[in-house]
């Protein structure tokens, strides 16, 4: 039996001038879980993501991963401590091949180049990108680029992965493909996933738990069906599109 890991965000706060972008938000996620973070535009999701990956410095609070505070370390040390991320606007290394992109993910956290090669080839195979291993990123379709970016996050052997709108820009078929992949990731890779997305279908089918932000504050959390029924959530975010 492998041990479970815990990612715990405790009362994290961040202000920009007088604007409280993230105000006293806490959440907890463990290995095997998929937690969905939703909220209307400007609700503080992006700030929250940047806080827990230490890309932004917090004002107060903490982000504990198995007892280590991620939010007080330099951003580049976060993946090594178990939390990898992707970006809403796919960020890949455009002058490197697909394989090299994944190798970077592994050597970035101190894995040897030989081992990194192996990890990269395995991931390419799993993601169905084996044929494009030596292609540059521009020769990939947009959805393949999204898969490659997720693979890069996985290449550092993280305990948790943070996916920022992984289905944005994908068509229905590709979204389904993404959903199938994400569904099996936690068990297969022994990780927890924190996912931010606007695609309600994806979020509702995929997530074990939801966390809803508005004006930088938590307005609801819990099981998808419970959160969906919460009147405040309906008012703030789902609006008339809620079924």
């Amino acid at each position: 039996m492998e041990n479970k890991s815990f990612l715990e965000v405790k009362s994290i706060c961040k202000s920009f001038g007088s604007l409280k972008a993230v105000n006293d938000v806490s959440m907890r996620i463990e290995t095997g879980e998929i937690l969905g973070l939703i909220g209307p535009n400007g609700s503080g999701k992006s700030t929250f993501i940047n806080l827990i990956t230490a890309m932004l410095k917090k004002d107060s609070g903490s982000v504990m991963l198995d007892g280590v505070d991620l939010s007080s370390m330099p951003a580049h040390k976060v993946p090594k401590n178990g939390l990898a991320r992707t970006y809403q606007t796919v960020r890949l290394f455009k002058n490197l091949t697909c394989r090299e992109n994944l190798i970077i993910g592994a050597i970035g956290v101190g894995i040897s180049q030989k081992e990194a090669n192996k990890i990269a080839d395995e991931l390419l195979e799993e993601m169905g990108l084996a044929e494009k291993a030596d292609s540059f990123v521009e020769n990939l379709t947009f959805s393949e680029q999204r898969f490659l970016e997720i693979s890069r996050a996985l290449a550092c052997k993280p305990k948790f992965v943070l996916l920022d709108e992984p289905a944005a820009g994908l068509n229905e078929e590709e979204t389904q493909h993404m959903l199938d992949l994400l569904k099996e990731l936690p068990a297969k890779k022994h990780i927890g996933i924190l996912i931010v997305d606007h695609d309600m279908h994806l979020i509702m089918t995929l997530c074990d738990k939801l966390h809803v932000l508005n004006y930088g504050q938590t307005i609801a959390e819990g099981k998808p069906e419970v959160v969906r029924a919460n009147p405040e959530v309906v008012k703030a975010y789902l609006g008339s599109t809620a079924e």
Binding site: A75, H76, A84, R91, G108, V109, Q113, D121, L124, A130
Partner: protein
Amino acid sequence: MAKNRIKNNHGISSKLSTPIMLSVILVLVGYFIWWLNIPFVQDIYTSAAITLVMVLGFQIFNGNSGILSWSYVGFVGIGAFSSAIFSMTPQMKSMQMPEMYPFLVNIHVPFVVALILGAIVAAIIAAVVAWPMMKISDDAGAITQFALLIVIHVILAQWSKVTNGPRTFTLGGQTLTTIWVAMISGVVVLFIAYFFKESSLGLKLRATRDDRYAACSSGIDMVKTRYLSYIFSAAIGGFAGGLYSHYILSINASAFYMTLLFNLLSMAVIGGKMSVSGAFFGTILLTLARQGLRQIEPVLTNMGVNASGSTEIIVAVLMIVFLVFRANGIMDRYELSPSSLKSLFSRKKKAEKKSA
């Protein structure tokens, strides 16, 4: 099924194929030129091989980090002066540079050791000054590089007790950087530049070049990665400077300034600065072009057209044309290798089929 099999092209043999192919070209051309035994042509080859070492050292940081490292030529200068000080005999030094610090006058080591010490001096100076600069990217990064070059240049041009100041620094004695020394150095540095690019540090540096946010969230410490690479690049630059000073035998600070930078930059840009093969072919192409143009200049002048300086104009225009139409140079991101040649030919065949 073959469709899903990954072509394993990261074996040792394919890793070596690029520097081997480039070295074979360099050595074969060198042998042929030695056999021809025309001093003028041998001189062109020797200086081209030295320039190749300079361009490769430039490529190591500039090409892989994406930061225009103006200061690089300053480190070439530092290597040139310091290796000369190390290799010259005390008598020669006290004769040529009576003002020099006595402790420098007394140093005397063999040529090869002097070359390596020149590289080390350049690396140490880079290590001392570079850390804060490595935090800065883009335009600001290039500007700080420019500023550092000016600092180095002024020191080299004014520190009479070390560099003989604004006067010419004469090494005396015979040319130690022979055609063979230049050729072997070229081969060695080809391998070094290629292995750097493929090394863990080189890969990380290239990642910071392409996207520094993604590099950061892949665990890469950008400042440290750039810092180590910059020191390494400065060391190769210092080594190249030593080759140069022991070839040309009289130097002064202005030899390691804008003209040299422009020369190296044009080779890297036209050849393709992201690729070691690009640095190689850029050096060959620009050396041939410059030599050719220099032969034409006096002919035109004799015909009554004042063409002096036209070589620089043509090279500059060529660089602009490349930046507009093929910004990543001739080689783009590719290296010379059996597989890249194969895909080039198959692409050509496809194009022929299409047109037929």
